[in-house]
């Protein structure tokens, strides 16, 4: 049927026979896409008298917004904290591989490193749209070096720092450039952090609290200054205590400024947090849950030794430790594994599990007008999933960029 579209001649695709996640529910609606964006079919019908050029039968599957991973240190042998000559091809490789995990946008994460490493690496991280080449890069997540030595986790102690006299200038000198930086994780108890948090927030950079021994009031003060995220809740922070809940207490704090929400990242790989702790956090503050992989270079590779910045780590199944120790260091779980584990551990709805990996990270970064939903006008980054949330196909800007083949690869 010839279509008569007055707004654009670009082809229109109609994904039928699916259940799509919209308005926090799975609805039996078709998904319409044109020019990389999700299209309103009613407007197309009445305003343009248009119709679809191609119809694709989704065979009853679930269509959900693409996953957004805001903490991923590398994978498939690539370490984002290692300054190599072909660093960009490392980003490309990981970006391409994680399409099969349902990730359509990500923040390459750097662990605590010497300034020279930031100066070499950060200029090589380009914020760019995703596509057939791989998931979109939203910007870098620099986790450290302004963190607590006591809660270093897998970060190298000799690179951990406090702020010099002019805190923000010191931060700028350390990183070299903030152009591509999207998230900064720091410990708010460090002197000078309030000024830094304000300056970063002014520049639209998301400030996250982590690797810290802050108590609840220090954490609340940081939120007053602009912090909106918690890096891997429970890990590398003081444990919850009933008289001082520490950073964990932010989940139920009554000192969060009106209209603001504190989000918290959780590595729901079944190892970094006990399922009971995952449930406690989820039940206390369900709208703040952001699933992250915190994946390291060894993700996607065979068990054995791999690097993580200045350290060597050892993989054994889903566990990764600093070589020779029992200190956890990042994960090798994939994002879709994390989503399925979260669903199973909390008994939450499919919609909730999917939103923790899509809508919530988009809200955290202030990009929900174009990412993280299947609303009209949004970027058409979405996934086709089966009922147990295994990714069957990945789409970016309306184009299929990955499909599970018959052999289940």
């Amino acid at each position: 049927m010839p279509s008569n579209k007055s707004v654009s001649d670009a082809p229109i695709a109609q994904f039928t026979n699916c259940r799509l996640l919209r308005g926090h529910r799975l609805q039996r609606e078709d998904l319409w896409v044109r020019e990389g964006k999700i299209l309103n079919p009613e407007k197309l019908f009445f305003d343009e008298k248009g119709s679809a050029d191609v119809q694709l039968d989704c065979k009853g599957r679930i269509l959900a917004p693409g996953f957004i991973d805001v903490q991923i240190n590398g994978g498939f042998g690539v370490d984002f904290s290692l300054a190599t000559d072909d660093f960009r091809s490392g980003i490309d490789l990981v970006g391409q591989k994680i399409l099969s995990h349902g990730v359509t946008s990500f923040c390459p994460t750097l662990v605590t490193s010497p300034p020279s490493v930031y100066h070499q690496i950060l200029p090589q991280i380009d914020v760019r749209n995703g596509g057939a080449h791989g998931a979109g890069v939203l910007g870098a997540h620099v986790e450290g070096p302004f963190i607590s030595k006591e809660k270093k986790g897998a970060h190298p102690e000799h690179c951990i720092r406090t702020f010099e006299e002019n805190a923000f200038q010191d931060l700028l000198a350390t990183y070299g450039s903030l152009d591509c930086v999207r998230i900064v994780t720091l410990a708010p108890e460090i002197k000078g952090s309030s000024e830094v948090i304000r300056e970063l927030t002014k520049r639209g950079i998301c400030v996250s609290l982590g690797h810290s021994v802050a108590n609840l009031s220090q954490a609340e003060e940081a939120v007053q200054h602009g912090a909106t995220f918690i890096t891997h809740l429970f890990n590398a922070m003081l444990p919850f205590h009933h008289r001082d809940p520490g950073i964990v207490g932010l989940l139920t704090s009554d000192k969060i400024p009106a209209g603001r929400r504190v989000f918290y990242g959780m590595i729901s790989d079944g190892i970094h947090t006990n399922p009971a702790a995952l449930r406690i956090a989820h039940r206390a503050h369900p709208k703040g849950m952001v699933l992250v992989t915190d994946a390291i270079a060894g993700m996607g590779l065979a068990p054995g030794r791999h690097t993580l910045g200045q350290q060597v780590v050892e993989i054994d199944g889903l566990n990764t430790y600093i070589a020779g120790t029992k200190t956890l260091s990042g994960s090798v779980a994939t994002m879709d594994t994390c989503v399925r584990h979260f669903l199973e551990a909390t008994g939450c709805s499919v919609e909730t599990a999917l939103e923790a990996a899509s809508l919530h990270p988009a809200q955290l970064l202030g990009i929900e007008d174009r990412k993280g939903t299947l609303n009209y006008g949004s970027d058409a980054d979405f996934l086709m999933l089966d009922d147990s949330l295994h990714v069957q196909a990945t789409y970016i800007a309306g184009e299929e960029v990955w499909r599970r083949d018959a052999l289940g690869m």
Partner: protein, 212 residues
Amino acid sequence: MKLIIQETYAEASEWAAKYIRNRIVHFAPGPGRFFTLGLPTGSTPLGCYRKLVEYYKNGDLSFKYVKTFNMDEYVGLPRDHPESYHSFMWNNFFKHVDISAENVHILDGNAADLQAECDAFEDKIKAAGGIELFVGGIGPDGHIAFNEPGSSLVSRTRVKTLAMDTILANARFFDGDLSKVPTMALTVGVGTVMDAREVRKTTDYIFQKALL
């Protein structure tokens, strides 16, 4: 005038849908030979639309060569408002079947010149060769479209102020806030409806069944 009584809403809806289906199939529409259908909105015809969609999905009915003319639309309500009759028709019927947008006609309640819009609608009906079958409901007071009892029998498509009863009945769709309910509508006239070659009215008001 024939009166057909069904026991339940479901049966009445199915009867109406089957009737429409059979009329269209019998007419055998094709390129250059369209079946023109006058259509209603509201809760009464919902069951009928569901059945028509079912017949389309089963392959028993196509709307490819069907032209539709809706009876009415609110004035001043944004076209994409969930309570507009455009939204109703899209969600309950058009999006589920194979009808072409250019064959669908619904009055534009946001037109700059409302009466001109009404006149143009009458012209479109004439250009389509008149309406083969006008399907509609009857309100609790006997109104047809927005023609309240007492409307001229030769009235044409025009702007009408809604009766208070209608506004009150509609309030439930606008969060119970009377100030949000449209007070005017564009409606086909009684004469417009009676010009159709056949008129079918359904109602699920029990007292109507008894009185008629």
